[in-house]
């Protein structure tokens, strides 16, 4: 097994620090670089970059404009893989958009849609596609399959890689009242290419924990070490924080602690 890369997200407001940082193997790109970003040339020259933008929701086929954009970004970053999410966040008519990752119904119909549209996207990309799990804060009664079963069927039918977001698994376990390790074991870990790790904090609206641009707790780091030991094909672990409020201290300390935990 090749050594795991340990990295973070490119946060442009921390561009100067990231351009001269040590101990970071890669940066995930959530947004294209701004034309005025003075640090982008150094960042591009220095790091392995992972395409992790919003390309489109695969409940519908991506249109030509979106595919061309995905291809252009993949080429710009020279990304080893292209990431998208198991999400469906705007209505088909474009009228309602919640502007936040939100999982589809776990049904056969949605599975067919995601498989067909992912295959169509894969055929147009020069890099492998990886797909990230998205947490549900509540169950929708219309869902037919447990999320891990639905994901396994998706990966088996498409050959796509799994981007395993560990705080998402941890949060789902929390809100289901089960142990994170027990819930994790249900997922198709042999398909994992990349893992995300992040902090969680209490949210006033949710009245419970949610993802935050904070350092991962010791419990989350132990959970990471456990997950990595069960993901034989994993190539990278990424500190998943992308926010204007993220400080350089939190980013660098988190990457350092993730590396120590592995």
């Amino acid at each position: 097994m090749a050594p795991l890369m340990v990295g973070a997200f490119y946060n442009p407001h921390l561009g100067a620090e990231l351009a001269r940082a040590q101990g970071i193997d890669h940066l995930a790109m959530a947004d294209p670089p701004a034309p005025t970003d003075p640090h982008w040339p150094a960042i591009k020259a220095r790091y392995t970059l992972l395409l992790h933008d919003y390309l489109g929701q695969l409940s519908e086929p991506l249109d030509e404009r979106s595919i061309a954009r995905a291809r252009a970004l993949a080429e710009l970053y020279r990304t080893p893989w292209v990431a998208e999410h198991f999400q469906c966040l705007h209505t088909e008519d474009g009228r309602y958009n919640i502007n936040y990752v939100f999982p589809p119904l776990y049904t056969d119909e949605f599975l067919r849609r995601f498989v067909a549209n992912a295959k169509a996207l894969q055929a147009r990309l020069d890099q492998p596609l990886v797909m990230e799990n998205i947490p549900g804060f509540f169950d929708v009664k219309a869902s037919q399959l447990p999320e891990p079963v639905w994901l396994r069927r998706f990966f088996d039918q498409t050959g796509a890689g799994f981007l395993l977001d560990l705080p998402h698994v941890w949060l789902e376990a929390h809100y289901r009242g089960v142990k994170p390790a027990t819930w994790l074991a249900e997922f198709p870990l042999e398909q994992v290419v990349e893992l995300h790790v992040a902090g969680v904090e209490e949210d006033r609206d949710l009245e419970g924990p949610w993802i935050a641009p904070a350092e991962p707790t010791d419990e989350m780091l132990d959970f990471t070490a456990l997950a990595v030991s069960r993901c034989p094909a994993a190539k990278a672990v990424t500190f998943d924080a992308f926010a204007p409020s993220l400080t350089s201290d939190v980013l660098f300390k988190s990457v350092e602690r993730i590396r120590e935990a592995l």
Partner: protein
């Protein structure tokens, strides 16, 4: 009803507080109501945080002078009071939230005069408020064959797109805005030069600002979807070729569209 349509109902409920409270939604009993409400409130705060950080970025950059960060309004009782009627992405809610942000930066109602080193603050807040309102509304997420066909029809009566705004300002803001986002010691000043700006949004949601001359302003004000090109040219005092050039530019920005009469 397909699973996709059912999922759209869930998205509608998350985005639209009055719908969430309706019998039509509650009778379906798809989701535990308490959980849905908590997540919807979380989404609303996130939705408008992203927009205030983006559209009020110049006010944020001036916070060390004004002492007021516009996004702080999202933690206020006034914003909490809006949540019962908020419809994410609607122009009405965008207007309400942008208005709260403006009042927050001005601190009190009625507002005091701007700080002496910021004589253009009121203009800036009007500009940022207009940008945020213009961005709201349904958007086209993907190109479709139907839309391409509709766009290829012979154009007839130009119509001002809802949300398009003309702003008369006492200060030339475009001359100072980029400098506000760079590092500065002395507050960058805007020339006391009246300008008229056009703010428009493309069908895909991209908001653009352009300086508007008298011809552009009159065409935007007169384009009501009923006047023919000949009537519009006559009332705006333009030659047919000049009108055509102006309309092409306005259409590209998303400021006007063509009623097809079908």
């Amino acid at each position: 009803m397909s699973d996709r349509e059912l999922h759209d109902l869930v998205l509608h409920a998350l985005a639209d507080a009055p719908f969430r409270a309706s019998r039509e939604w509650r009778d379906r009993a798809l989701v535990e109501p308490g959980r849905l409400e908590r997540f919807a409130r979380f989404l609303a705060r996130h939705f408008y945080y992203e927009r205030i950080v983006h559209f009020f970025k110049y006010s944020r950059a001036l916070a060390r002078v004004t002492g007021r960060c516009p996004e702080a309004v999202l933690k206020s009782a006034d914003f909490d009071a809006l949540l019962a009627t908020a419809v994410l992405g609607s122009r009405e809610t965008a207007r309400d939230v942008a208005g709260l942000a403006v009042r927050h930066v001005k601190e009190v109602t009625p507002p005091p005069p701007p700080p002496p080193q910021l004589p253009y603050l009121n203009d800036l807040l009007r500009y940022e408020e207009a940008m945020m309102i213009a961005e709201a509304g349904p958007r086209m997420w993907r190109d479709s064959a139907h839309e391409r066909a509709a766009g290829s029809r012979e154009p007839s009566a130009p119509e001002r797109v809802e949300g398009t705004a003309l702003l008369d300002l006492a200060y030339d803001l475009p001359a100072v805005l980029p400098r506000l986002l760079q590092s500065w010691v002395e507050v960058p000043q805007a020339p006391a030069q009246p300008v008229k700006l056009l703010i428009a949004r493309s069908p895909h949601g991209r908001v653009t600002v352009a300086r508007a001359d008298a011809a552009v302003a009159s065409v935007v004000e007169l384009a009501d979807g009923r006047k023919t090109l000949e009537q519009l040219a006559r009332e705006a005092g333009l030659r047919a070729t000049d009108l055509e050039t102006t309309l092409v530019g306005l259409s590209d920005l998303g400021a006007v569209r063509f009623a097809t009469g079908s």
